[in-house]
Structure formats: structure tokens, C-alpha cells
Amino acid sequence: MKIIIFAILLFYSNISSAQDTVFHKTENTYESLVIQSGYDHIYLLKHDRKIDTVWVWKYGAYMKIHIFDIVYSRNYHISLNSTGYDIGYSIYEYQMDKWQPLMGGILAFLTDSRNKIDVSILDGDKFRLLEEDGRETILKINFANKTLEPYDK
């Protein structure tokens, strides 16, 4: 399996011409790496220099995904990103020796009157949204129910 993954990585790393590293973060023994290659976003998670997972999202031809953060927490891989139209999240869970999508969705749509929002991942299980006018919303991830729930500090 690892050989296949490496082959995919090498393919995207070496053969594809237009590729950018759109996100890279090292956290403890984990390394998150997202590469945009043509129309694809390739998500890689490395542990002790070994690639744990690979998955690919295809996006619109002109889209560039803005990634705010990726957090590896317990058995979850949580990413926070934007297409420019929205602010979305994605959570993958490590199950049966592979990473599988658990839940994902939109935290906010960006509109003419709502375009400046700071977002972050807190403690590996919450999302924080801070609006331009100072309003703060914290949403706790309920991994079991696959929902986001308002969280009161």
C-alpha cells in the first residue's frame, strides 16, 4: 500500500508540471502537506517521515483553495479551508487502517457584507469564528453524532 502511495506522490511531485505547495505544517511527529497540482488538491499526512495517507480532491479549474489550518488530533485529521465563496471544514477519521471521510461542511458563506472572518481550530475539537464586528462563535465538534454544536466558554 505504501508503495502505491509513494508512487502517487512521486507522480504528483515529479511529473505534474504546475504544482504548488499550498499548505505545510509540522506538528510533533506529524507533517501535513497539501499540494495543488492542476485541478487536484492532494492531501498528505506524514508520520515519522512515512506517508500515512493520501487523498485527492478535484476542484474547479480556476479554484485555489485557501487552507487556514490542519490539525491532527487523536484519530482525526481536521482541516479548515476556503474556496473564496465559503469557509468550510473537513474531518477524516482513521479507521480500519485507512483514513476515511467522517464529516465536513460549511462554517460560513462569504458575502458582500460578510467577508472578513477569522477562523481557527481550537484544542483539536472546536472551530472558532471571529467576525469583523467582534462577534465570536465557537462550535464544538461532536465526532460521534457528526454535528457541530454551539459551545459556551
Partner: protein, 527 residues
């Protein structure tokens, strides 16, 4: 001093062998040149603002220290700008060579004679790159003593001639050779004290605003339209630069081309011309929407004293009176197709009617209450209470699609925002395929430093000048009228949908109501 020595010194002076210029301690050294707003035409002084977010003004409200020696001995330069027809006014400051002294802040005497004259006369001769006089001179004037005995001021004086009327100019080096003499005799012995040089811009007319212009706006207009004297030629020259689709900030050493929708998230967050012109550390800036690009074009011309206004293109219902949203007839057609195509499972409530509570909308819903998994479809719309009251209604927001798209499957169809022909499997909550949408995106239309930008919009901002339309985002124009812009720029009309796939990926789909052609350009209105 004994008599013999006095006689010897007198002899040397009479013989002309003693030249003060060569005498360390007496020769003058140029250490600052400042330009001032013209006395008679204050509005012809053009203020310059540093590009970006800092708000720092490069020029002063009435004066700019354009060339000076700082405390470390380095020469610092700043740009200066006047409107054509203005007579530039300059002042300067000198010190006794080797004294190491510095100037106090310049004062503006308003043309009066020196109040405390120093035994030096100074003139400034404007010269070209080869040192030949251009004909413009800052006239001979006796220096004024300052509080420091070894520093003297040439208080602001207008040049002997004005910049030619109407003519745009850019001088990378506006050079003034400063000369001093112990007497004011024009034909006497003059010694060079230094040559100042700085960028100098001359705009076509008095700018439309007294507030400072971004440096790049001024630079672009004056460099592209250098030597032009008529408005049409200046607008054409600026348009030609925008048509190149590669415009860099004036002080960007890397010459990065400013982008149109380069990073959609940043583009959307960073609103305002100052963000487009901000230094791109980390590629966060130098990126703008149509609004910023249209303003960029507008301000570039405004600095030249040329007016124009921004116009917004919006999609309009062919049969209705509403702009920017579907009327009831189109909405009904649309929702019928949505239900046909996606089936009921992708909506919170099966058999969704036009009741907004039964569909997910991107504009107005508390979206984090969406279910966290499964597939979902979100329409581009909002809710509104009907005139006269009653239950909230669904309002679908219309869009238009900027070239290039391949909508060859026809109208009243759904297309994925993926490369043309690429299939996208739409799956329901049970991970069963319910439909296939085919990609329709083709490269282009090429925009500012972006060969394939975002291409579906609720609106688009253009610039109108002299009843012609310019599209600075794409570098296109002029268009003689709205219909011409529509024909050249658009592929179709409709609305968009967001589809959340089982693997958490998000996809845009377009519903094409009508392909754009010569018969339906009336769908677009300019406001």
C-alpha cells in the same frame, strides 16, 4: 598678522588666485532639495501616497523633501508631481563643505527676500542626462543664514518657466545642477555645489482630488502617457497598459504582476485598492476583484485630471423587473429542474417546494447547523418577506458566466465547474449516484495575471469614460456600448449551486438558463 603677510594675501586675492570654491571651509555642499506647491496654482501640486495599507504619504501636503543627505551620509530621494502648466518651486539647503552640519526644516518665505542674508548666491540649472541645460532655471538668490553658522538656505523660489500645458511627463531623473557664487553676477564665477535628481511627474491636468494618489496610479499614468497632450491619447495609453495584463507596483523589485482573483479567499477578504497595491509578503495581497481593478483604472486617470465613473453589470430577468434575482417564472423553471436533476434526497425536506425552509441557501442560513455528513446541495439564494408581509419566500440570486465555458449540452442544464467534459458524479445520502454533471470550464478569459480566473459572478464592475466602457479586470475595451461588452465577455446566464460530496470535497455547479447571444444581451443592465 604682520604687514608683510597682509600684503601677500591682498596680492593673492587681487591676482584671482584664491578661489573660495577650492578652499576647504568655505565651499558649499548641497545637502537638501525640496519642492513646494506652486504659489499661484496650489491645486497643481499632486500629492503622492505610498502604495498599500500603510497610509504613508510620500509627498507632503505642500512640500516634499525630494533629495537629501541623511545622517549616515546616504542620499534619500522621493518623487514629486505637478500638474501640467504649473511652475515648479524649489528650495535647497547647503552647508560649508566638510562641516558635517545638517539643515533645519525648510521654511517657505512666499517669495520674500532673505531676512538674514549669507554671503553666498545660488542658482539651480535644470540639466538633462548629458548635463546640458534644458532651459528651466531656479533663479539666482542670496542664501539665508540659519541658526547654524555653517548651513544656509535657498528659500523656495519658482522656476523661470512652467511645465508645458496639458503635456504628461515622466522624468526618471529631474536633475538640477546647483551652483553658488560669492556675488549674484550671472556672468561671474559659479561653482557647482552638487546635482540633485529625483523622479518628477507631470500630470495632464489638475488631479480630480486633493487627497494623495497611490504612487503606482501616478507612475502608471505618467509613464504610459509620457509626452501625450490629449485626453483620448492618455486614456488609450493607460488602457494599453491594462491590456498587457501585467501591471506591477512601481516599487516592486520583483515586478510581480498584480492579480485578478488570484487567491479567491484573500481576494474576497482584502477589499479596497490599498490591498491590491499592498506588498505581497506571503502572497496575501496584490490581488483584487473587479471593484479594485476598476478603481485602479479610475484613480490612474483621476490623477491625470480625467474623470469617469464605475458601472456595475447585473443580470436582469428578460420578462421581469427585478435585477440580480430570478423572477417567479424563471425561479419556477429552475426549481423544477433542480428537483428533477438532484432528486429529493439531497434536500432537508423531500419534495421541496419554493418554501425557503425546505432548501439550503448560501445567503442567510445558519450554515453550521447543516448536517455534518452526507451529501448536500445548497442553492445560491436568500429569503425575503414579500411586499405587504406574509411568509418568507425563496429568492434565487442570478449569475452570469464570463467566458470561456463550454455549454454545448444546451440551456436549462447543469454543468460542473470542472474542466470541460470532466464528469462529476452526484451522489445521494446513500452514496448512490443520482446524476452526472459534466465540466464546462475552459481556460480564460484571460484576466490580469490570471489565465483562468473565477468566471461566475453576481455582478461585475467596469469603468465608463466618454460613453465608452472599459473592463480593467480583463484589460479589455473600450466597448462602444453595453451590448458589445456582453457579446464579447459572456457565455451565459443562470445561477449556481454548491454540492458537498461524500468525501467532503465541495463543487460548484452552474445552471445555465440561457446562453448569451446577440438576442438576449438585454438581460444585462448597467447600473
Amino acid at each position: 598678522m604682520n604687514l608683510h603677510i597682509q600684503i601677500l594675501l591682498a596680492g593673492i586675492v587681487l591676482a584671482g588666485a584664491w578661489n573660495p570654491a577650492n578652499a576647504q571651509g568655505n565651499a558649499l555642499e548641497l545637502i537638501r532639495v525640496e519642492f513646494w506647491a506652486p504659489q499661484d496654482k496650489a491645486g497643481h501640486w499632486v500629492r503622492i501616497r505610498k502604495d498599500g495599507l500603510s497610509g504613508e504619504e510620500l509627498s507632503g501636503e505642500f512640500k516634499t523633501n525630494a533629495w537629501f543627505v541623511d545622517k549616515t551620509g546616504a542620499i534619500v530621494k522621493k518623487p514629486v508631481a505637478y500638474a501640467a502648466g504649473a511652475t515648479p518651486r524649489a528650495g535647497a539647503c547647503f552647508r560649508i563643505l566638510g562641516s558635517g552640519k545638517f539643515c533645519p526644516p525648510a521654511s517657505d518665505p512666499g517669495g520674500s527676500a532673505p531676512t538674514d542674508p549669507a554671503p553666498y548666491f545660488v542658482r539651480g540649472v535644470v540639466v538633462d542626462a548629458s548635463g546640458q541645460p534644458t532651459g528651466m532655471v531656479f533663479p539666482t538668490k542670496q542664501l539665508t543664514k540659519t541658526g547654524t553658522k555653517k548651513v544656509f538656505e535657498y528659500r523656495a523660489e519658482p522656476a523661470t518657466s512652467a511645465f508645458p500645458d496639458q503635456q504628461v511627463q515622466f522624468m526618471e531623473q529631474y536633475r538640477i545642477r546647483w551652483e553658488w557664487s560669492p556675488s549674484g553676477d550671472e556672468n561671474g564665477a559659479w561653482t557647482q555645489a552638487g546635482i540633485s535628481d529625483n523622479r518628477l511627474y507631470v500630470t495632464h491636468r489638475k488631479p480630480l482630488e486633493r487627497t494623495p494618489f497611490f504612487y503606482t496610479c501616478l507612475h502608471l499614468g505618467c509613464t504610459e502617457a509620457h509626452s501625450e497632450t490629449n485626453e483620448a491619447a492618455i486614456v488609450a495609453a493607460v488602457q494599453a497598459k491594462f491590456a498587457s495584463r501585467c501591471i506591477a507596483r512601481v516599487d516592486d523589485a520583483q515586478n510581480n504582476c498584480l492579480k485578478y482573483w488570484g487567491d479567491p479567499f484573500r481576494t474576497r477578504q482584502n477589499r479596497g485598492l490599498e490591498y491590491l497595491l499592498e506588498n505581497a509578503s506571503g502572497a496575501d495581497y496584490e490581488d483584487g476583484r473587479c471593484q479594485e481593478w476598476a478603481e485602479f483604472f479610475q484613480k490612474t486617470l483621476a490623477a491625470q485630471g480625467i474623470s469617469g465613473n464605475l458601472v456595475t453589470a447585473l443580470a436582469y430577468n428578460p420578462a421581469g423587473t427585478t435585477v440580480g434575482v430570478f423572477d417567479n417564472a424563471v425561479e419556477s423553471t429552475y426549481l423544477t429542474r433542480v428537483e428533477q436533476f438532484f432528486g429529493n434526497d439531497l434536500f432537508p425536506t423531500p419534495n421541496h417546494p419554493t418554501n425557503p425552509t425546505n432548501v439550503l441557501l448560501d445567503n442567510g442560513d445558519p450554515v453550521f447547523n447543516l448536517p455534518g455528513s452526507g451529501t448536500r446541495v445548497i442553492l445560491h439564494g436568500t429569503k425575503a418577506t414579500p411586499v405587504g408581509g406574509g411568509q418568507e419566500e425563496l429568492v434565487v440570486i442570478s449569475q452570469f458566466f464570463v467566458k470561456n465555458w463550454n455549454f454545448s449540452a444546451g440551456e436549462n442544464q447543469f454543468y460542473a465547474v470542472l474542466p470541460a467534459g470532466q464528469p462529476l458524479s452526484i451522489k445521494d445520502a446513500n452514496n448512490q449516484q443520482v446524476a452526472i454533471a459534466y465540466g464546462a470550464d475552459e481556460s480564460g478569459a484571460e484576466a490580469q495575471s490570471n489565465g483562468n480566473p473565477t468566471a461566475h459572478f453576481d455582478d461585475h464592475v467596469l469603468f465608463r469614460h466618454n460613453n465608452q466602457y472599459y473592463d480593467p479586470s480583463y484589460g479589455n475595451g473600450p466597448f462602444p456600448d453595453k451590448d458589445n461588452w456582453v457579446t464579447v465577455s459572456l457565455t451565459g446566464y443562470g445561477s449556481m449551486i454548491l454540492y458537498l460530496a461524500p468525501d467532503n470535497a465541495r463543487y460548484f455547479l452552474l445552471w445555465v438558463h440561457e446562453n448569451a447571444d446577440n438576442t438576449n444581451s438585454g438581460i444585462i443592465k448597467f447600473k
